[in-house]
């Protein structure tokens, strides 16, 4: 079973080697001149103002929690989706569907709550 993932590992290893090889070639042939001004980050030609380690508000906590909420949800829906027709064939399609409906309804309530609370207002 797990060995079928082997080719992916091989491919990733080769691609990393390809990337490193290209960079080495570039190091060998490319020119290298270093100066203070050149090492500055690009800020439209003027001297950079302050550092770039800023704090930006993207409501990171909310983004992360929402992502986890819905990603875990889709993870749980995936096995059901694959087996849905099998359940129907075994005569329990309706029962399983009702369970999934309940599951999605709980999540729908969660989404509605976040929405109502203004968690989805990204222009704040």
């Amino acid at each position: 079973m797990l060995t079928s993932y082997g080719p992916i590992l091989v491919l990733i290893a080769v691609v990393l080697a390809f990337a490193v090889g290209n960079i080495i070639i570039s190091e060998l042939f490319g020119k290298k001149t270093i100066s203070i001004a050149k090492g500055d980050p690009y800020e439209c030609g003027s001297r950079p103002v302050g550092g770039a380690r800023l704090r930006l508000s993207i409501h990171f906590y909310l983004v992360a929690v929402l992502f986890i909420l819905f990603d875990v949800e889709s993870l749980l829906l995936i096995p059901w989706a694959v087996a849905a027709r099998g359940f129907a064939g075994a005569g329990v399609g309706g029962v399983v569907f009702a369970e999934v409906l309940g599951f999605v309804a709980v999540l729908g309530v969660g989404l509605a709550y976040v929405w109502r609370k203004g968690g989805l207002r990204w222009d704040r």
Binding site: S4, G6, L16, V20, S26, D71, V104
Partner: protein
């Protein structure tokens, strides 16, 4: 288990790797040790895969410029080769010879690692993409799941690149990427559940086989008589892949007119080109996934004709031509959209993702499951 045996197990049954292995066994001289065989096999198949991927990425850059050119009533590259078809090679050589700059304030290890990580994750996902029914690299039962898992890893690389560059433009690009890609992962995964439900499998080959027959067209999952929720699901999927691959109108992480080049502002030379290779490989990969799950995969009138002749090689070639043509059709559509739609704001992107696409995708899955569970068993044509 000894090492050679383990390597031999890398070759999945029925796969291209296996065929190469058989061929090599036939021509192997006696003085070559046995353990060299599986190793050579693995390397040859990797070589084929990498060659295909780089061809796709190179032709993608050329196609993008030709399409943009013609949409804007100009020609695009014309000098290098016929209609500039050698331009990507010229560009590659140029980029190799360019200076590979590292900003003085950069977080060096992260800065150096980011492009390679981005490239490796997307090309690792390409391993799952089968080129023909009997010619593929990895036959994985969780095919689409693996693709989604590996492609979402690119976000980490992009955020690494943006943060380590020590540039404000890069930082903004990375933050947008983090917010946007994470938001669109959800509708992407959920809308794919609709065809997965109809096919009952994650495996790309099985999904394609499920759409065989009907002159190679009538059994595609996209048709409303298969499942009427498939069309909306495809629309959601397509919007989500535009956002996932950072294409216009969702190209906010790059946003050249406002963020210079977004997360790759500070990159130059060959490292910069890795981000482009990733972008075109990802576009092609998602288009291929879309063709497998909605537009019949290997099935087309061409494949049906080839199958009627009963020549094995002909079927493989027809299937490969079909899937690559479908992939490029999707690529063209994405380029076309880039010059049709203006870029949206980041809050609009997030609103669209969470307030519209996610509930709609959920509704689509539920509707499709009602159809599959209650109606499909009594439909005469299913």
């Amino acid at each position: 288990m000894s090492l050679p045996l383990h390597l031999a197990a890398l070759a999945a049954p029925r796969s291209a790797t296996n065929q190469i292995n058989d061929f090599l066994t036939g021509v192997k001289p006696d003085f070559v040790p046995d353990w060299a065989l599986p190793l050579t096999t693995a390397l040859i198949s990797v070589g084929i895969a990498v060659a295909i991927i780089s061809l796709v990425a190179m032709s993608g850059t050329w196609l993008e410029r030709k399409v943009s050119g013609h949409i804007q009533c100009r020609y695009g590259p014309m000098r290098v080769g016929w209609h500039g078809w050698l331009q990507p090679i010229a560009d590659g050589v140029k980029l190799l010879l360019k200076e590979d700059m590292i900003p003085l304030g950069a977080d060096k290890p992260l800065y150096l690692l980011a492009p390679a990580l981005v490239l490796a994750s997307i090309l690792g996902a390409m391993a799952v993409f089968p080129l023909a029914p009997d010619f593929y690299f990895a036959d994985i039962d969780l095919g689409i799941f693996t693709i989604l898992a590996l492609t979402s890893t690119t976000t980490i690389g992009v955020v690494m690149a943006g943060w380590s560059s020590n540039s404000k433009w890069s930082l903004y690009g990375a933050m947008r990427e983090a917010a946007q890609v994470v938001a669109y992962e959800i509708p992407l995964g959920i809308s794919l559940l609709v065809p997965v439900m109809v096919a009952g499998s994650f495996n790309l080959l099985e999904v394609s086989n499920g759409q065989a027959g009907g002159f190679g067209v009538l059994n595609w999952y996209i048709w409303p008589w298969v499942n009427p929720f498939m069309g909306p699901a495809f629309l959601l999927f397509f919007i989500a892949i535009l956002a996932e691959t950072k294409r216009a109108p969702f190209d906010l992480p790059e946003a050249e007119s406002e963020l210079v080049a977004g997360f790759m502002t500070e990159y130059s030379g060959i490292r910069w080109s890795f981000f482009f290779m990733e972008e075109y490989a990802a576009m092609f990969l998602y288009c291929v996934v879309g063709s497998f799950f909605f537009f019949g995969g290997f099935e087309s009138p061409l494949t049906s004709l080839a199958r009627a002749t009963d020549v094995h090689l002909l079927v493989q070639v027809a299937a490969a031509v079909t899937i690559i043509a479908k992939g490029y059709a999707g690529l063209f559509l994405m380029m076309w959209l880039r010059w049709t739609l203006p870029r949206v704001r980041i809050d609009q992107v997030m609103t669209l993702g969470y307030k519209y696409l996610t509930p709609l995708a959920l509704a689509c899955v539920l509707g499709a499951s009602v159809w599959e569970v209650f109606l499909a068993p009594v439909l005469p044509w299913r």
